[in-house]
C-alpha cells in the first residue's frame, strides 16, 4: 500500500514538474538571456521581469505542487529511488510536453533515449 502511495506521489510530482518546466522554458524564451538583461538593466530589473511574466507565475504554482509531492515521496521512499525515478520520468514527460506545447522537434534519437531512461527507471525501482 505504501508503495502505491509512493508512486502516486511520484506521478503527481512528475506531472507538476514537467508542466512547470514547460511553462518556465516558455517564460524564459519570452524574456531572453538573463545574463544580457542583467548587464543592461541590473539584477532588480531581472527579478522584476521574471516575477511579472505570466507563464512563470503559472510555473511556480506547478513547482509548488511538485515540491510538496517530492517532500511526501522522500518521507516514504529512499532518495536513491525517488530522485532518479522522478527526475527521469520528468525528462520523458517533459519531452512529450515540449513536443506538443513548445513545438520542439523530438526526433527518433530522443525517443530512443526516452526508452533507455524508462528501462533505467524500472531497474532503479527493483
Amino acid at each position: 500500500m505504501k508503495s502505491l502511495e509512493l508512486w502516486l506521489a511520484i506521478a503527481v510530482m512528475v506531472l507538476a514538474s514537467s508542466g512547470g518546466d514547460v511553462l518556465t522554458s516558455s517564460a524564459m524564451k519570452r524574456i531572453g538571456d538573463l545574463g544580457e538583461l542583467r548587464a543592461r538593466k541590473g539584477v532588480l530589473a531581472v527579478i522584476g521581469t521574471i516575477f511579472t511574466e505570466r507563464h512563470f507565475l503559472l510555473a511556480l504554482c506547478c513547482f509548488t505542487v511538485g515540491f510538496f509531492s517530492l517532500l511526501t515521496a522522500l518521507s516514504w521512499g529512499d532518495l536513491s529511488l525517488v530522485a532518479p525515478a522522478s527526475a527521469s520520468l520528468t525528462f520523458i514527460v517533459s519531452a512529450f510536453m515540449a513536443k506538443y506545447f513548445l513545438k520542439e522537434d523530438v526526433d527518433q534519437r530522443r525517443w530512443i533515449s526516452a526508452v533507455l531512461v524508462c528501462v533505467g527507471v524500472v531497474l532503479l525501482a527493483m
Binding site: E5, D21, V22, T24, S25, S26, M28, K29, R30, I31, G32, D33, L34, G35, L37, I50, H55, F63, F68, L70, L71, T72, L74, S75, W76, D78, L79, S80, L81, V82, A83, P84, A87, S88, T90, F91, S94, A95, A98, L102, K103, E104, D105, V106, D107, R109, R110, I112, S113, A114, V115, L116, V117, V119, G120, V121, V122, L123, L124, M126
Partner: protein, 141 residues
C-alpha cells in the same frame, strides 16, 4: 556556449542534487507524513536539514532559470543528467543507503539515454525556427 554558461549548468546539477540529498536527510529525521493530517506537510520547513536543502534548491532554481534563458529545455534537462550519478553517490556514501547492482545499472542506462540525446542537433535547428511565444510578444510590441 562559453565558460559562464557551462558553470551555470554545473550549478544546476550540483545544487539540485545536494538540495535533494539534504531534503531527504531532513525528511528521514521527521518520519512519514500522515495523509490524514495535512497540516503536517508544513512541519518539515522548521527542520535545519530541510531549510538548508531549500536554500540549495533556491540557488538551483536561479541557475535553472538562467540556463533556460540561453538554452532549450531539451538541452538543459539532459545536460544536468550527471545529477543522477551524484545523487546515487551521496545516497550510497553519505547516507549509507542500500544501492543494488540493478540500481547502478539503472543509473548507467539513464546516463546513456541522456548522453545519447545530448549528441543530437535539435537545439540548433529549433533555435532557427520562430518561437510562437516570441512572435506573439513582437505583435504586442
Amino acid at each position: 556556449m562559453n565558460i559562464r554558461k557551462y558553470l551555470v549548468l554545473l550549478a544546476v546539477m550540483c545544487f539540485g542534487s545536494i538540495g535533494d540529498a539534504l531534503l531527504s536527510r531532513g525528511m528521514k529525521q521527521l518520519g512519514a507524513i500522515d495523509l490524514h493530517h495535512w497540516q503536517e506537510i508544513i512541519r518539515p520547513i522548521g527542520n535545519p536539514w530541510v531549510l538548508v536543502g531549500i536554500l540549495c534548491l533556491t540557488v538551483f532554481f536561479a541557475s535553472y532559470l538562467t540556463a533556460l534563458s540561453f538554452a532549450d529545455l531539451s538541452y538543459v534537462l539532459p545536460a544536468t543528467a550527471l545529477g543522477y550519478v551524484l545523487v546515487t553517490m551521496i545516497a550510497k556514501f553519505v547516507f549509507h543507503e542500500n544501492v543494488s547492482v540493478l540500481r547502478w545499472l539503472g543509473v548507467l542506462l539513464i546516463s546513456c539515454g541522456v548522453g545519447w540525446v545530448t549528441r543530437g542537433p535539435a537545439l540548433t535547428e529549433r533555435r532557427r525556427e520562430s518561437v510562437p511565444m516570441q512572435e506573439e510578444q513582437h505583435e504586442i510590441a
